[in-house]
Subunit: 281 residues, 2 copies
């Protein structure tokens, strides 16, 4: 049986055209490479080189061998790659979410229920992307804000409702409720990683001016103290409390309220049964 390191050496020679050049690249001595190539010819039972006294070159066999060898090496690399990827996928749960809040429930639960697995998460704006990813195996679990198709399995586990947080002195501060039209055109402070809520902003507030912030802490600080209105949700207030010195006004719109569903492929239902049971509570 011919071994791959010999093919790697042949490949190097094929690139350089000289044993010395190839040997240098391979970090082995020239005589060692010379012997290896003999060994390769011997193992294959086929001559691969035209040898003159101090010159060596591939013959037709050698050219073909170098091509086929390179292909084989490529396939071997692919195989290793696939194995490592498969292994990684076996020990990680890839979680796709449509917004940050579902993570608050799912992350700790997954860590607790599957302690030997690592959880990797990705946020997408659209449920469609998440569903495609789930079906393709990119995700094992997804959190959407729409009920799952019948060929998937899932259940609702949380709702989130959108409010506007404005400074006390803000013109809207005395309102009891708002519709998107009240906000459109304003300057608004916005955290970048909000998943599908971006769609709400794009569709319902096409004329608003957003000040995007991608650091959560900094955003929290500015949102709590600055002069700009910002969005906040019931979920956030449950966790972090109601902001001081701000007026929090509910937004009345069908898209201002979301129900989150945890979804997996139908065949994985049993595997994630513990998770779904816990989410029911």
């Amino acid at each position: 049986m011919i071994e791959l390191y010999l093919l790697e050496q042949l490949k190097a020679f094929s690139r350089h055209g000289t044993l010395s050049g190839a040997a240098e690249e391979l970090h082995i001595s020239q005589p060692a490479l010379s012997q290896s190539m003999k060994k390769l010819e011997d193992g294959l039972g086929v001559s691969l080189f035209e040898r003159s006294k101090n010159r060596i070159a591939l013959n037709e066999n050698g050219i073909l061998a170098a091509q086929l060898g390179e292909k084989l090496l490529e396939q071997s690399r692919e195989m290793e790659e696939r194995l490592r990827l498969f292994d990684r996928s076996r020990r990680t749960i890839s979680l796709g979410v449509c917004a940050p809040v579902p993570l608050w429930d799912l992350s700790p639960l997954l860590a607790q229920l599957y302690p030997q697995m690592t959880v990797s998460t990705q946020m997408k704006d659209s449920d469609e992307e998440l569903i495609v990813g789930l079906n393709r195996g990119v995700y094992q679990l997804i959190a959407t804000h729409s009920p799952p198709d019948i060929d998937l399995y899932g259940q609702p586990f949380r709702t989130e409702r959108l409010f506007l947080s404005v400074p006390l002195a803000h013109p809207l501060a005395n309102r009891k409720e708002l519709v998107p039209g009240d906000i459109d055109g304003q300057n608004l402070l916005l955290y970048t990683d909000i998943g599908f809520w971006h769609n709400f902003c794009r569709e319902k507030l096409p004329n608003a001016h957003f000040l995007m912030m991608n650091e959560w802490d900094a955003f929290g600080e500015v949102a709590g103290t600055g002069a700009f209105p910002s969005f906040i949700t019931d979920a956030h207030m449950e966790r972090d409390g109601v902001p001081q010195n701000r007026v929090v006004i509910p937004i009345i719109d069908e898209q201002a309220e979301a129900t989150y569903y945890c979804v997996c492929r139908a065949e994985s239902k049993d595997k994630y049964r513990p998770l779904f049971n816990r989410l029911k509570k």
Copy 2:
């Protein structure tokens, strides 16, 4: 880089399910195999086995690795096979002929003109088969009894004419010439390896009874002394002389005379130029 012998060992283990069984098949010791499998896991950076104290089995990774490994080994074998075949084809001229007689000219000429090549010959009943083989690279040269298509290159180099050889006492012995109808229905001695002449027998002598002989010497003996008529050709008589105590009668039929053409692919024309030149004489 992972080496193939490790995959071979993994494959053996995958078949047996135990290290001891696989080690036996591989003619190595059990500890050696145990270490090899560790080395494989280490090289791949992936666990392949579920180990309990005195039991070891493939895990999901291992199952996949065994599958992929087997595929890779298969590809490596294919590569070796292809190389050896290619090498063989480089140093052999495959010659397809439609009858034995063309070999008398071509074999010695090829041996003389291409002394470093070995010549392998194959006989076929139909020119079509030969031409397909030529186009597919199965043959480098063919001898047909019909002129070559325009996309091929070839030239005529010999004719052969069919006679019937009958004992002196045979009812046909006084005839000056024969047509197939005179012979059909008779018992005839026939050598098996006659190439396209079989077609003549099938088409023109559908009711004849053939006594097939596949050994040339034995055939020659029986044909020269026995009571049965047999075919003979001018080429044979030129080489071996006219048979004693027999009457040799020409057969009158368009298919009873053949002109042989030596044919190669158009792009090989120059390569076989020396051969064609010699055949012209």
